[in-house]
C-alpha cells in the first residue's frame, strides 16, 4: 500500500524552481530516503509533504489525504523532525512533549504513559524535567524524534536527522529510527546528504539533484547498477602499469590520479592476484592495493557525472 504518493509535485520561488515535477511513492512500513547535495530540493519537498508549503503545481497524498485539501487530516497522520531544532528551549523536555500531546489531542491517560514511553525509546527518561536549553545537540535531536512519535504517526518525516552530530550520536539515532520502524511499523521518509546514512537505513532511495529525481531504487540495486568493484592501487611506476593494463579486457575503466590508480572490475577480490602478477612481470613493485564495493558516491557520480563532494565545493 502506498502511504505517500506524489504527482508532478513542483515548487517555484520567484523564478527559481526548487522542486521540479517529482512523482514517486512510498510503501507503508518502508524506510525511504531522498539523497542529494545541499540545495537539491529535499527540504522544500518535505515542507510541501508536511503541509508547511503550498506546492506551485502538482499534488500529493499522505495516507490517502490530499496535502492541500485535507491538511489537518494529513497533519494528524504525520510526525516531523525538522532540520533546525523546533523545540521551546525555555520549557523542559517533558513540557515540550506535553505541549505536543495537547496540540494533537491525546487524552490525559494516554498522555502521561506515552510521554514516558517515547522518552524511554530515546533514552532520555532522566532528562524529562531538565530545561531544553541545557540539552546537548544530540539530546535535542533525540527529544524531537521522541516528540514526532508521540501521536503514533503513520509516517515520520526526518529532514537531515543527523546533521551536525558526532559519529556516536549518529549511530544511536540510526538505531532509534530503525527500532521505530520495526517496533511501531512507522513508515520513515528521510532526507540526507550523507551516503552512509542512506546506505545504513534506507530500503529504497531517490537520488535528487537540482529539484529533479534522477533515479529511485533499492540501495542494493543502485550499487549493482554501477556494477564495478573498485580496485585502488599505488605502485612504483604508474604510467607503465596503466599502459599495460589498458590492454586487459576485463578492466572496464582505469583512472590515474596523482598518487594512485583506480580500476573498475568485476569480482575485484579475484582480480587482485592477477594484477599483482602482471605488475611483477614488468618489475613494477605494488606498494598498496585494495578493493571496495561501490558506494553511493559512485552511484551519484554515475547518474550525475559529479560526486557529491565536488558538488559541494
Amino acid at each position: 500500500m502506498d502511504i505517500i504518493k506524489t504527482n508532478n509535485l513542483t515548487k517555484n520561488f520567484d523564478g527559481l524552481t526548487a522542486v521540479d515535477t517529482i512523482s514517486f511513492s512510498v510503501k507503508k512500513g518502508e524506510i525511504f530516503g531522498f539523497l542529494g547535495p545541499n540545495g537539491a530540493g529535499k527540504t522544500t519537498t518535505i515542507k510541501m509533504l508536511t503541509t508547511l508549503l503550498h506546492p506551485t503545481k502538482g499534488s500529493a497524498e499522505i495516507a490517502g489525504f490530499d496535502i492541500t485539501g485535507s491538511r489537518d487530516k494529513v497533519r494528524r497522520n504525520i510526525g516531523v523532525v525538522f532540520q533546525e531544532p523546533a523545540l521551546d528551549i525555555e520549557l523542559t523536555g517533558g513540557e515540550n512533549l506535553e505541549y505536543h500531546a495537547r496540540m494533537y489531542g491525546l487524552n490525559r491517560n494516554k498522555r502521561k504513559t506515552r510521554i514516558d514511553d517515547v522518552l524511554n525509546l530515546v533514552d532520555l527518561e532522566d532528562k524529562k524535567n531538565v530545561i531544553v536549553k541545557n540539552y546537548s545537540g544530540g539530546m535535542k535531536r533525540r527529544l524531537e524524534i521522541a516528540r514526532g512519535l508521540m501521536h503514533y504517526p503513520t509516517v515520520l518525516f526526518l529532514d537531515e536527522p543527523t546533521l551536525g552530530l558526532d559519529a556516536q550520536t549518529r549511530r544511536a539515532i540510526w538505531n532509534y529510527i530503525g527500532k521505530m520502524n520495526k517496533e511501531e511499523g512507522t513508515t520513515i521518509f528521510l532526507t540526507t546528504h550523507y551516503m552512509d546514512e542512506a546506505d545504513f537505513l534506507c530500503d529504497r532511495i531517490g537520488i535528487i539533484d537540482h529539484g529533479k529525481i534522477l533515479v529511485i531504487d533499492s540501495v542494493t540495486n543502485l550499487k549493482n547498477s554501477v556494477g564495478n568493484d573498485v580496485i585502488t592501487l599505488s605502485c612504483s611506476d604508474m604510467v607503465k602499469l596503466v599502459k599495460r593494463l589498458e590492454e586487459e579486457s576485463w578492466i572496464s575503466n582505469i583512472e590515474q590520479h596523482e598518487t594512485f590508480v583506480t580500476l573498475g572490475v568485476e569480482k575485484g577480490e579475484e582480480k587482485i592476484p592477477v594484477i599483482i602478477e602482471i605488475a611483477q612481470s614488468l618489475n613494477i613493485r605494488i606498494k598498496s592495493i585494495s578493493v571496495r564495493k561501490p558506494t553511493l558516491d559512485d552511484v551519484f557520480l554515475h547518474f550525475t557525472g559529479r560526486t557529491m563532494r565536488d558538488q559541494e565545493t
Binding site: K47, L52, V80, A86, L87, L91, E98, R102
Partner: protein
C-alpha cells in the same frame, strides 16, 4: 469548535504564562520600568501645573498603565518572531490545529500577562493615593485594559508576520510607537498645543489613554467622554486583531 482546539488554546495560553514567569528579567523589567516612569515623572512634574490637571500623579497613572499593557502585549505578538527564528513556529504550524486557535491561544496568553502587569501597577498607584472613581469606573478600566492588550497583540502579530528579524521591530518602536505614546496624552495633556490636538485625533493610543483615564480617575478632565473613547478603541481593536489574524494565517515558515 472541537475539544482538541480548546486543549490547544489552553496549552498555548499556558506556554505564554510559563515563559513569562520563568523569565526573571522580563518579570522584573515589566514592573520596574513603568514604576520608574510613575515615580520619577510623577515627582518631577508635581510642581508643574497643567490646565485642567489637579493632581499630576492621578493624571499620569492611567498613562503608565496603558504604556505597560501596550509594551507587554506587543512583546507577546512579536514573540512569534522569536518562535520563527528559533524554529519553534514550525512545530506550531504543523500541528492539526487551526490558525484561528493558535492566534486565540497566543492572544489570550499575552493579554493575561499584560493585564497582570497592569493590575499590579494599578494597585501601586492606588497605594500612592491616586483618586479612583467607583466600581463601575474600575470595571470600565478593565475593559479598556483588555482592549488595549488585544489590540497591541494584534499589532505585534502583524509585525511578526511581515518581518524576518528584530531590526525592523526596533525601528518601528522608536519611530512610530514612542512618538505616538508621547502624543497620546499619557504623560501630559495634548490640548494646549493645537497641532498636537489635531494629531491626537488620528492617534489610536490617544483614545486608549484618554478612555482609560476617563474610566479610572475622578477629577481630571478628559478630552472625550469615556464612552466615545470606548467605541473608537473597540473598532481599532477589531481592525488590529483582524489584520493580525489575516497576516499570521498567511505566513509560511
Amino acid at each position: 469548535m472541537k475539544s482538541v482546539e480548546f486543549q490547544a488554546i489552553y496549552i498555548m495560553w499556558l506556554r505564554q504564562m510559563k515563559r513569562f514567569v520563568r523569565s526573571k528579567s522580563r518579570l522584573v523589567s515589566s514592573i520596574v520600568q513603568p514604576l520608574f516612569f510613575l515615580f520619577i515623572l510623577g515627582s518631577g512634574f508635581r510642581v508643574a501645573t497643567f490646565a485642567g490637571v489637579d493632581d499630576y500623579l492621578s493624571f499620569l497613572a492611567p498613562g503608565i498603565i496603558a504604556m505597560a499593557i501596550l509594551f507587554s502585549s506587543m512583546f507577546t505578538g512579536i514573540s512569534v518572531l522569536w518562535d520563527k527564528q528559533f524554529g519553534f513556529l514550525q512545530e506550531v504550524l504543523v500541528a492539526p490545529v487551526s490558525r484561528f486557535s493558535i492566534i486565540i491561544g497566543r492572544t489570550l496568553g499575552g493579554a493575561t500577562v499584560a493585564l497582570i502587569q497592569g493590575i499590579i501597577i494599578l494597585l501601586i498607584a492606588l497605594s500612592l493615593g491616586v483618586k479612583v472613581s467607583g466600581i463601575f469606573g474600575l470595571l470600565l478600566t478593565f475593559v479598556f485594559m483588555t482592549l488595549i492588550a488585544f489590540t497591541a497583540v494584534g499589532f505585534g502579530l502583524v509585525l511578526a508576520s511581515k518581518m524576518e528579524d528584530f531590526q525592523g521591530f526596533q525601528l518601528i518602536m522608536n519611530l512610530l510607537i514612542m512618538p505616538l505614546l508621547f502624543l497620546s496624552s499619557a504623560f501630559f495633556p495634548v490640548t494646549a498645543n493645537p497641532t498636537m490636538k489635531t494629531i491626537s485625533y488620528f492617534n489610536p493610543l490617544f483614545y486608549m489613554v484618554d478612555g482609560l483615564r476617563g474610566s479610572l480617575i475622578i477629577g481630571t478632565a478628559t478630552v472625550n467622554s469615556p464612552m466615545l473613547d470606548l467605541l473608537v478603541v473597540l473598532v481599532i481593536c477589531f481592525i488590529m486583531m483582524g489584520l493580525g489574524s489575516y497576516f499570521f494565517s498567511k505566513c509560511e515558515v
